[in-house]
Symmetry: C2
């Protein structure tokens, strides 16, 4: 799957992923009102509002970008109807030719980890039938449980041509409480980075591995260090835009081939119509504002990399 | 919620939680066949089989135990229909008076973490209405992202009388790859243990905090050390039974008041009918085998604590 992602990055010229992380506060009132008039102020109504919002944004930007990253928490908060909207979004993005990175940050052990792998990037058997329940192309995973919590995902990647991004250094202010602790000669994030390199060594596809890493745009120096620790990993970089990361901060996340990183923006794109810069689009044309924000982000990153 | 859990532990005399973690391989063939004949070999069929299996076990053991711990991965693997079975299980366990610990191991940051908290132990607003989507009493959470990934859960605990169990030292063989690393004078698991104590200090209910910890039965010495680091935390202890932990290993997880720990068994209870010891029950009476296994586990732990 990493080869397909790299091909699409080259084709679009955009190492960009749009984070489909809607809260109801992001959804324009006319979209909410329509959904609520049909389903009431219910979880079903919320799921419908989020799905219609996503669909409009995907329709407006799908030709510009290689991938989307729906954050499952934003759907899970609405219970079953929210997860129905998540699944509809995954399927629709596939229809539009987009790669889907499920931002699920799952992590568990043994048969439990196998179950997460089956549900998201694998297959589950029911009698003589097999299903791909959520069917993302990549998912994010948490390394705190060690190799036992990663190997079932590696197997699923191998068997189903999928990939994972392992949390290494997250973009939030308190990420250092554990991740920056120094054990022997290395920080925890460097230790996890070395594990990512090792886990990925058996899953090479071309110059890159199916095992990528999450490193926040808010920590550019650590990104530079980790780039060297994990030369074959694609780095998924959250924290651009709303969290403070800028194009110029991102140069060292990339390899010299221009690949090796994909930058996520969520609120900066999906709620662009609320940003003064794009206010002229108005609420009704929220998806056009998102398209303009993607084009600006593409330009920002391209000029930083030039 | 921790006070309610402690009251129920005292009332039942059983510091035991039954892990409702079914795979289809655990479900007796007559239960599967009935579900598949109604819904086909589909994800809906799998969800129905798992739900009927859970219901029979809950009916057989609910009067003996304070709590259950459904592992959401086992449901998520069947997609939406699996999660419908999870939700039915949570609601049914509440009807039977059981406390429900959602083993979800979620962890994320900022608004994303708030969304997980809302979906599992909080409330979500849709227009003028509020909902408790999955509505567990406690959930397990992952600390790798630091305080930013925990504080939204603490707020939800405070606002909704709920609790969390933070992963500290997990029961699996490779848990030490990160958790046992020594940073300065402390291991990572001791560092996280100290954080658990601090996070819990503002959420005391009686002698215990709403912020508990997960420490595997397979590491009794570390359990003893962590008991001292987190005197006010209830320790959720996986790894008993199928993973190798025994009653005698568990003594030091408890405080001198006889509280402070709750021991989980999953396969050892729900698949007891497959164990030679309970084979005489036969597949048809699988739930009675589970009841017998709970009674034996209760006896094992009581005699270890005596």
């Amino acid at each position: 799957m990493i080869e397909k992602l790299n091909e699409k990055i080259k084709k679009t010229g955009a190492p960009i992923v749009v984070g489909l992380d809607p809260t109801l506060a992001h959804v324009p009132s006319h979209v909410c009102e329509k959904a609520f008039s049909e389903y009431g102020n219910t979880l079903e109504g919320a799921g419908e509002a989020v799905w219609q919002f996503n669909k409009a944004i995907v329709d407006a930007v799908y030709d510009l970008i290689p991938a989307v990253k729906p954050q499952i928490a934003m759907y899970e908060q609405f219970g079953i109807p929210g997860l129905v909207a998540f699944k509809k979004t995954v399927d629709y993005c596939h229809e539009k030719g987009l790669i889907v990175i499920g931002d699920v940050k799952r992590g568990d052990i043994g048969s439990t980890c196998e179950a997460y792998a089956a549900g998201h990037i694998g297959r589950v058997k029911v009698g003589d039938k097999e299903y791909c329940p959520f069917d993302e192309d990549f998912i994010t995973v948490n390394p705190y449980l060690g190799s036992d919590g990663i190997k079932p995902f590696l197997n699923a990647c191998r068997d189903n041509d999928r990939g994972i991004f392992v949390l290494v250094k997250t973009s939030n202010p308190s990420s250092g409480e554990l991740q920056d602790l120094v054990c022997g000669e290395k920080t925890i994030y460097e230790t996890v980075g070395a594990m990512v390199d090792q886990w990925g060594s058996g899953l090479m596809k071309g110059d890159y591995s199916e095992v990528g890493a999450v490193v926040g745009a808010t920590y550019p120096e650590m990104g530079k260090a980790l780039r060297a620790v994990m030369p074959r990993a694609c780095i998924l970089v959250p924290g651009y835009g709303a969290q403070g990361g800028k194009g110029a901060d991102l140069v060292h996340f990339f390899n010299s081939d221009g690949l090796g990183a994909i930058i996520n923006s969520s609120r900066g794109i999906i709620a662009a119509y609320k940003n003064e810069k794009y206010a002229s689009y108005g609420e009704a044309a929220f998806a056009d504002a998102s398209r303009a924000a993607v084009l600006d982000m593409k330009e920002d990153i391209a000029s930083a990399l030039a």
